[in-house]
């Protein structure tokens, strides 16, 4: 055993909040890559559990959440929405599930997957890439996904830069063992279009997808 090995053995373990830290850092990089000013970093105390400031922040967040629910969800819907500042998931009286994206980005994709799973929708949510299934989507896609999508080989749209975007999913129409792949690429701005490309595909549970950080030809919108 040498001195280097000894030092290696006392290396502190990786952070427990790695995914959260990574996502926050990626958001700052995404802003820079899109030519925007990177958002300011979060308070350093954020990762210290049990501090009074966290309790206060949680209280503020709870109030904000309640306000957002009041704002974004029309009356007559169920009282168990899953809401973040970036998106809201709501089960409707007719059995459909509404998804509303705000702020152009599916922040916290893991939490969106959990929210959809709570409403019986198995989903794979990816941010920063667009995913293409191997093989065709399931034929039930048309019955499952309802929204202002461009229908080609896959459903694709552009999340508007400033307005919210909403679509509905009918979980009852999803075949057993199927899953929805929801993927969103970073916002693009070209001579003919602007917005964040978002694609949605209904695939078999074991059907692989290939995800790319580039805008594939099938996701290009013209005219």
């Amino acid at each position: 055993m040498n001195e280097i090995t000894l030092l290696t053995e006392i290396q502190p373990p990786p952070p427990a909040q790695a995914a959260e830290i990574r996502q926050a850092a990626r958001a700052r990089l995404d802003a820079a890559m899109a030519g925007r000013r990177p958002p300011r970093r979060r308070a350093a105390a954020r990762y210290r559990p049990g501090r009074p400031v966290l309790a206060a922040a949680a209280a503020v967040a709870a109030v904000c959440t309640a306000l957002i629910v009041q704002i974004v969800l029309p009356a007559g819907q169920s009282a168990t929405p899953f809401v973040t500042a970036a998106w809201a998931v709501q089960r409707n009286a007719d059995g459909t599930v509404s998804i509303r994206i705000r702020g152009r980005a599916i922040a916290h994709p893991g939490r969106l997957e959990e929210a959809l799973a709570a409403d019986g929708i198995q989903a794979e949510v990816r941010y920063g890439v667009l995913c293409t299934p191997t093989g065709p989507v399931l034929p039930q896609q048309q019955a499952v996904v309802k929204g202002p999508f461009h229908v080609g080989p896959y459903y694709v749209t552009r999340l508007p830069l400033y307005d919210p975007f909403e679509w509905k999913i009918r979980p009852a129409a999803m075949p057993a063992g199927s899953r929805l792949v929801i993927s969103e690429l970073h916002p693009v701005r070209t001579a003919t279009e602007a917005g964040a490309p978002l694609a949605i595909e209904l695939v078999g549970d074991n059907q692989p997808v290939t995800c790319s950080a580039k805008l594939p030809d099938w996701a290009r919108l013209r005219g």
């Binding site: 055993m1 006392i10 790695a18 990574r22 926050a24 850092a25 990177p38 990762y47 920063g128």
Partner: protein, 227 residues
């Protein structure tokens, strides 16, 4: 199958390989056995298409984060991670594309970011030294003897680290914690490989002396075996 966009290297489409480990991005080629895209190729692409740089983050963020966290703790790890990749993004035009692997370059930037937080670095080392040492019993079982010994020696090791110059400490930790090779550490610190070798030799002697000169690991294991 995705189609190749104009301006891409022939035969390559940037993609994530289905089934690849998290964060592991490879290029899906137009046929079997397509070559893996190097960091240098991505860096070259990112000069024309800035969003390509996201792949560099996906490949190396976990590693840089782990290192930043080990050096400064969770509070500043996000800051160092974000600032490292923001700086790398801004400096991508200066990247030497003859270097296929961007890790040494990224570590070099990360070290500069860590250097901006010297007090936190010191606090982090003090906290590491204060961690209680693990109890060694006669039955070590299948636990690594190296690990047990290192935990016993941790306060001395941390003290020895703190007694080094900043540049020496960076070199040791790049080798021991980041797992860089001598050549990679040399690139990260702007040294020659021979300078790295000679410095490491000197540093190992220095640490051995700080630990008592002999082989303290053997003494600890011997004591454990007697119990």
């Amino acid at each position: 199958m995705l189609t190749r966009r104009a301006g891409y290297p022939a035969g390559l489409t940037w993609a994530e390989q289905p089934g690849a480990a998290a964060g592991e991005r490879v290029a899906a080629g137009t046929g079997a056995g397509a070559p893996q895209v190097t960091d240098a190729e991505i860096m070259a692409l990112s000069r024309r298409d800035s969003s390509s740089f996201g792949l560099i983050f996906e490949r190396h963020a976990d590693e840089i984060l782990r290192y930043a966290h080990a050096r400064l703790g969770p509070d500043l790890a996000e800051d160092v991670l974000a600032e490292t990749f923001l700086a790398a993004f801004r400096q991508r035009g200066r990247y030497d594309c003859a270097r296929a692997d961007a890790r040494p370059w990224l570590y070099g930037i990360a070290i500069r970011q860590i250097g901006r937080h010297r007090r936190a670095d010191l606090r982090s080392r003090r906290a590491l030294a204060r961690l209680p040492a693990e109890t060694v019993t006669g039955d070590i079982g299948d636990r690594s003897a190296d690990r047990v010994t290192a935990q016993q020696l941790r306060p001395c090791l941390v003290r020895a680290l703190s007694g080094l110059s900043r540049q020496d400490r960076e070199l040791l930790l790049l080798i021991a914690w980041a797992g860089l090779t001598y050549e990679e550490a040399a690139q990260a610190l702007g040294l020659t490989v021979s300078a790295v070798r000679s410095r490491l030799h000197r540093l190992r002697v220095q640490i051995r002396r700080a630990l008592g000169g002999a082989n303290p690991a053997a003494a600890i294991l011997e004591a454990a075996g007697d119990e």
